[in-house]
């Protein structure tokens, strides 16, 4: 089975790709529009250079070669939400080509190309016979990332996409609802011929749509049938893919160069742009450098890149063991609370330093960290975590096998976590319980 994805990412520019209309949520349909994004006769596109910058950043993140010169092309097709009946996109010489992206498992996924293009408007069906068009989205900049068919299962496609989105979000500062602004065309072939499922939104739907296709195509092949090359769409409600059109090959779009925009020399811009280390690369590096589990590294980074760098500096100062114990422990589980309260992480390291210098005990260190990060009084923390610790200790006393099982497989902690959650009646945050159970089990090992 071969799966390849074409991923559309909305780029976080303030204005549209070829005009100055804002990209923010509009108060009403067709309000963030102008002659250019409506394709009025005589209007002309002017490139928002920020779009090329983002394109270069993503190309670098994906290990692509950034083109020295790039230009735009016209893709012609008729659809009511495409205001000019022409989409300005890239055909020859896209921003980036020939990259590789590594899954957490270490498997390489080849990246064919990345190009930038404009989004069409939106069609909204009203009743059976008519539709309304909203052009607010028309001209919003997108990056399209095309992979080689290197993904082998729907689940792998989903985890690839999840990991990729996280990286993109971090590298180009995509807002938190980034997943909403990511759309995917999924190409899948169980046999020889492939089908394309267009415009699937969200990770879960990508996996669902692909899984449906696997079953559908397998059934056809088993029955001795032939898969026809076609474009399909995913019906989210029914969870099925439906044929849209047969055998429409890309070249039918009659690409020509876009003469209104000219040629862009990217060399200088590309040399100037330095990108942040992507979470994926950071996880590989941290896990290798400090000898910790890749999953743990990934978890630190996905909580926050700042947490990951705090881990790094703690590991350098106090050693990996204490960094894992404290930064990947209570600090990690209280990180989001701290961020939401607007508390600076500055005070964390001094507390750990006092502990490592032998000035405060394990218990005190835990209490002070939580107190600092949650803004609560130490007594309150001591009281409540004392209660939690007692519940856990009680459970472990009557189920001592958990500790020895945990030494073989850390998943054994889940049994204790579940029981404690149930016993405490949801009084504690799950992250708090997880941290406390692991801490106490480890202290008994």
């Amino acid at each position: 089975m071969k799966i390849g994805l074409e991923i559309h990412v909305q780029l976080p520019t303030a204005s549209k790709m070829f005009c100055s209309c804002p990209t923010t949520d509009a108060p009403a349909p067709n309000t963030h529009v102008c002659p250019t994004c409506l394709g009025m006769p005589g209007s002309r596109p002017v490139l928002n250079r920020k779009v090329l910058e983002y394109g270069i950043m993503l190309a670098k993140m994906l290990g692509c070669t950034v083109a020295d010169t790039t230009w735009f092309s016209r893709k012609t097709y008729f659809y009511p939400d495409m205001s000019k009946s022409v989409q300005i996109t890239q055909y020859d010489n896209p921003v980036g080509e020939g990259g590789v992206y590594y899954l957490d498992s270490g498997k390489p996924i080849r990246i064919t190309r990345i190009h930038v293009e404009e989004d069409p408007g939106k069609t909204k069906r009203v009743g059976d016979l008519s539709s309304l068009i909203d052009y607010n989205r028309s001209g919003i900049p997108l990056a399209e990332i095309v992979t080689e068919p290197d993904l082998s299962t729907p689940a792998e496609a989903r985890s690839f996409l999840g990991q990729l989105i996280e990286d993109i979000r971090y590298v180009i500062d995509l807002p938190g609802d980034g997943e909403r602004s990511i759309r995917c065309d999924c190409n899948i072939s169980v046999g020889k011929e492939r089908c394309e499922v267009k415009n699937v939104t969200g990770l879960k739907n990508v996996e669902r749509a692909l899984t449906f296709e696997v079953v559908r195509q397998t059934k056809i092949l088993k029955a001795g049938g032939k898969i026809e090359r076609e474009t399909r769409r995913f019906d989210e409600e029914r969870g099925v893919t439906v044929s849209v059109r047969k055998k429409e090959f890309e070249a039918d779009y009659g690409y020509i160069d876009e003469p209104d925009l000219g040629i862009f020399h990217l060399k200088e811009m590309s040399d100037r742009i330095k990108i942040k280390e992507s979470p994926q690369k950071m996880a590989v590096r941290i896990s290798a450098e400090y000898g910790i589990d890749k999953k743990m590294a990934r978890q630190l980074i996905s909580t926050s890149a700042d947490l990951a760098s705090l881990f790094e500096s703690a590991a350098r100062e106090f050693g990996t063991k204490d960094a894992v114990k404290w930064i990947a422990g209570p600090v990690s589980s209280n990180w989001k609370t701290m961020e939401s309260l607007g508390i600076s992480p500055e005070g964390i390291v001094p507390i750990v330093r006092e502990h490592c210098g032998g000035k405060i005990t394990d218990t005190e260190c835990g209490i002070r960290l939580k107190s600092y990060m949650t803004g609560k009084e130490p007594e309150e923390i001591a009281g409540s975590s004392g209660d939690l610790d007692k519940i856990i200790a009680g459970y472990l006393d009557s189920n001592p096998s958990v500790v020895s099982d945990y030494a073989k497989n850390p998943k054994a902690a889940n049994k204790a976590i579940g029981a404690v959650m149930k016993q405490s009646g949801g009084k504690y945050q799950s992250s708090e319980v997880v941290e406390a159970v692991k801490r106490i089990i480890e202290s008994r090992m």
């Binding site: 002659p35 409506l38 394709g39 009025m40 006769p41 005589g42 209007s43 002309r44 002017v46 490139l47 016209r74 012609t76 008729f78 659809y79 009511p80 205001s83 000019k84 009946s85 022409v86 016979l129 090959f249 070249a251 039918d252 009659g254 690409y255 020509i256 160069d257 003469p259 209104d260 925009l261 000219g262």
Partner: protein, 442 residues
């Protein structure tokens, strides 16, 4: 004739010559410094803009074209929008969904095209300047047929913001007038960088350094296939130029014969994508059978409201960019364009200008035009197309009259950004040329 006189009489004149599609309702020039008109593919916020097409009937743009805005800012008053071939698709202004302009020297003959209405207005009204647009010769051809001066500047010299596109890599906005001095004056007025059109932003400044035309090269192919009267007038003009002290020599420009097919491939490829937006939604005409599926609606609408020539060019242009044909036609034409430019560059290293007649014949009668095939009409542009394909500035000057009294034109082509040489050519020529004005009968 004062501006007020023109404003009180021009509607009546228009009813005979059909130079304008839309006209101003004002009778008072107010504090206008001059009157002007513009080809109807330049958008005007105060007048309907149709680009000669029924598909745009009723369209009132939301903004002025930059060239019109600059004319207005300098005190110009726009009095009318000029009839033209639909979207610029033609040589005689007869491929129009609206009215067809009549030649001021003989209303039974064509004004040329596609800026026919502009040339007609500039020839008929005193002290009148008109904005035209050239893609493959649409300024010089009508200037020649109507016995006036016309200039298409370097590609990118004048902002195309507000120009309803025919072929974006070829379209150039220029000026038509019966006075040679207007070429310099109004190109200065409308040119210059405009951030709204990125292709205008690479231009060097248009200067007045006093540079003169000293030499001109006549390509051998440029004197073939001419009507006897045109050949005769051109030969006499060459002698006159020599007597003015200009060095005139014959040269070989072997790539010029490939310019025509390359031009039609590129122009129609771009045109077919530009015309894709006209589907009977959003603006212009919007009547149609709404019970149809959207693609059937689009097809029925386009079938009904595009003219025959527009349809022909959409088909040609769609064919030349399809997979399997793109490399053979579109990509090859792009290479031919480079070799045509190289040919010009090599001539411009030795000469100030390339000189040919503008059109191989004088303005034909409408009856003759209807007997021409599409290919015959395309071929008539073989002298104007090369400079347009190369994006080099070119200018037509009146250089004589045929046995019927119809004007004959001669075309100078200069190197990119060297409009100054053309301004001088027009001004020097005007001093020694006796213009015969048309008799305007109402």
């Amino acid at each position: 004739m004062t501006m007020r006189d023109v404003l009180s009489s021009f509607r009546e004149i228009n009813s005979k010559y059909h130079m304008f599609h839309a006209v101003t309702g004002d009778a008072d020039p107010g504090d206008a410094a001059f009157l002007f008109s513009a080809k109807d593919n330049l958008t005007s916020a105060d007048m309907e803009t149709c680009s000669g097409s029924r598909i745009l009937e009723g369209y009132r743009p939301a903004f002025d074209a930059e060239s019109i805005a600059r004319m207005r800012a300098a005190g110009g008053k726009l009095i009318g929008k000029c009839n033209m071939d639909e979207f610029g698709f033609g040589t005689f202004s007869v491929n129009s969904g609206l009215e067809i302009p009549r030649n001021p020297y003989d209303p039974e003959r064509s004004c040329g095209g596609s800026s026919g209405g502009s040339a007609c207005a500039a020839a008929v009204f005193e002290d009148h300047v008109s904005l035209g647009v050239s893609t493959g010769g649409s300024i010089c051809c009508p200037a020649s047929f109507c016995g006036i001066y016309g200039i298409a500047p370097t590609y990118g010299r004048v902002s195309r913001y507000g120009l309803i596109d025919y072929g974006n890599s070829l379209d150039k906005i220029g000026v038509l007038s019966a006075r040679a001095g207007d070429m310099r004056k109004y190109i200065h007025m409308i040119s210059g960088r405009d951030p709204k059109d990125p292709t205008s932003c690479a231009q060097p400044e248009l200067k007045d350094t006093g540079r003169k035309l000293k030499s001109a090269a006549v390509p051998k192919d440029g004197t073939e296939g001419l009507s006897a009267d045109v050949k005769d007038a051109f030969d006499r003009s060459l002698e006159k130029l020599k007597s003015m002290g200009i060095d005139v020599e014959t040269v070989e420009m072997p790539s010029l014969k490939y310019a025509m097919p390359a031009y039609y491939v590129l122009a129609t490829s771009e045109a077919s994508t530009n015309l894709a937006r006209y589907v009977g939604m959003r603006y212009g005409r919007q009547r149609g059978d709404l019970s149809l599926r959207f693609d059937d609606y689009f097809s029925s609408f386009r079938s009904e409201y595009f003219g025959e020539e527009a349809k022909r060019r959409i088909l040609l242009g769609t064919y030349t960019r399809m997979a399997g044909f793109r490399d053979r036609y579109y990509a090859k034409a792009l290479r031919v364009r480079q070799s045509v430019i190289a040919d010009y560059k090599s001539v411009f290293s030795r000469f100030d200008a390339v000189l040919t007649p503008t059109m191989p014949f004088t303005a034909p009668r409408f009856g003759e035009i209807s007997g021409m095939s599409a290919l015959d009409a395309y071929k008539a542009d073989y002298l104007t197309v090369p400079a347009n394909l190369a994006g080099t500035p070119h200018l037509s000057v009146p250089c004589g009259y045929d046995r019927n009294g119809m004007p004959i034109g001669m075309q100078f082509v200069a190197d990119h950004w060297n409009e100054e040489v053309l301004f001088d050519a027009a001004e020097s020529w005007e001093k020694g040329f006796e213009m015969v004005k048309p008799e305007v009968k109402v």
